[in-house]
Symmetry: C2
Amino acid sequence: MTADSSEREWSKSEVRIMEATHRALLRYGYAQLSISRIASELDQSKASLYYHYDSKEDLLLSFLEYVTDQLESNIYTDNNESPSQELERFIETLLPLQLDDDESQLRAAMVELRSQAVMDEKFRKQFTEIDDRIVNHLERIISKGIGEGEFRNVDSTRVAEHMFATISGVMCNRATTNRENALA
Amino acid sequence: MTADSSEREWSKSEVRIMEATHRALLRYGYAQLSISRIASELDQSKASLYYHYDSKEDLLLSFLEYVTDQLESNIYTDNNESPSQELERFIETLLPLQLDDDESQLRAAMVELRSQAVMDEKFRKQFTEIDDRIVNHLERIISKGIGEGEFRNVDSTRVAEHMFATISGVMCNRATTNRENALA
């Protein structure tokens, strides 16, 4: 399978900025994140970041796109898997059973970023795209499984939406409560 | 069925403050909410609110408890329902098919409040309690349905956790995207 058509090319300098944003998010959390801190991670001036991005918001919107591209390219690697293996790996990528501290923190930051979408139309548009991509991806796996006779003949759109809602809920609840018995 | 044991008594003045907080949240949104604005809704001074609550955070934690109590008391009203009717009404209360603007805004504010729990231990503790209460409630309905032979003999804890994760995901995704086809 090839990369998803919605993935775009990232230049080397963009990737460096995205990786620096990732490190700064882990170090300071969403609330304390600033362009200066991202610039420090890069050993560059704030001005060099403003050359690429108009604002912190603009940079974070790119970061969300980058994370989604990373997620999709992590997933599209193995051609020899059956649809059920592919589905299992997709879910395990979104919801690992064990998360190390950095992974937990990145996911927590994603929940905070998502909450920006309640009031901010640009974040809302970005999360609409992200969710569409993930649901489409799930749907493709399910349809393939039905086509190959591995899955029952379900409504793949409904099942994909349902699975995605459950995954989102677990992600959000893990990041915002101390509950241990949330769905594994 | 009687009220849940975790519900507490709310004094008249507490209820007035909670209702004023609700109105202020709808009027200004979470980001613009302040003790002054809540006091204005009440035609009272800020000082009178600080008599009851140490901080805005403290007031919002009470508000979360109040909303959860309201949710539970809305649900525990009809003794003549079957478990499946009760379950349906519970889900319809959490996830109405149609939301008016005020209901959408309150739910959106709840998503913003929840995101505070990523970094703030008090909010985290409060949402842990809220989620426990909702999952326990779901579990009681499911167990009752199994006991009365209306539902299949499933693991009621697992099913309740799964249902709650799905409901949370739909709530969160509705508040943060423009996607129309999210699970009804």
